[in-house]
Subunit: 111 residues, 2 copies
DNA sequence: TTGACATGCAACCATTTAGTTGCATATAGC
DNA sequence: GCTATATGCAACTAAATGGTTGCATGTCAA
């Protein structure tokens, strides 16, 4: 029962956190990183200090949102990016609201 | 001291709420609506029941985010859309993360 | 000027969120 | 088997969020 509005909720909500966007940026630089790697890189590359569990929770949010996928590999867990439909949907939503007013379509409600 | 990361926080946070996206959709259909008008249209057109103050708070969030501007007009207050830089910035952010992995730029961190 | 109308403000409440700490579990290597 | 490593889980806290109610303020109109 997950409509586009619901997915926009979770998607924008997931992207609203700077740490989560940072994680996505890190995975974009190198896909398939483990929780341990991500922790190390985030606390060393950036001036942010977070516990392992905090980052683990952010990863769980990103996984629930469908932005990343996790596969257990021995005693590590690899995280890789996914491009869900919702990303393109959100991009179009923003693009529509970035363009001019009253674009004539008449049915602009895109909740 | 508002960097692009900060504005992405508030922007994505503002867009994460379905009622706020609904308000933006309504204003896109007809710009310059008052709080009273918006309340009436939202509770009548959609199956959502919210108090006037709830919608007023959402409008305040949208104004703080820079997505709408409010001008007092007599005893009513008109709300009109704005297209801040952050919208385009957010669109590019999503577009970058929607495209292929390891896009070679090497400096993908866009917090 | 009095009353109706549109909005503002403040206090309060429930839920969610972001974070922590502590302990448990599973796996790889010696 | 034992130990170090990498992660999972549960409980707890503080703060933010989304909502309500009640009352105050300002403005138009009869």
């Amino acid at each position: 029962m997950e409509g586009p509005g619901q997915s926009l909720d979770t998607l924008f909500g997931a992207l609203a956190d700077p740490t989560r966007r940072l994680i996505l940026d890190e995975l974009r630089k190198r896909d398939g990183q483990s929780l341990f790697e991500l922790c190390g890189r985030i606390v060393s590359f950036y001036d942010i200090s977070l516990s392992r569990q905090a980052i683990s929770k952010h990863l769980a949010v990103l996984e629930d949102t469908g932005l990343i996928a996790c596969t257990r590999q021995g005693r590590t867990k690899q995280h890789s990016l996914i491009r869900p439909e919702a990303l393109q949907y959100a991009e179009r939503w923003i693009a529509a609201h970035r363009s001019e007013l009253t674009n004539g379509s008449g049915k602009g409600e895109t909740i």
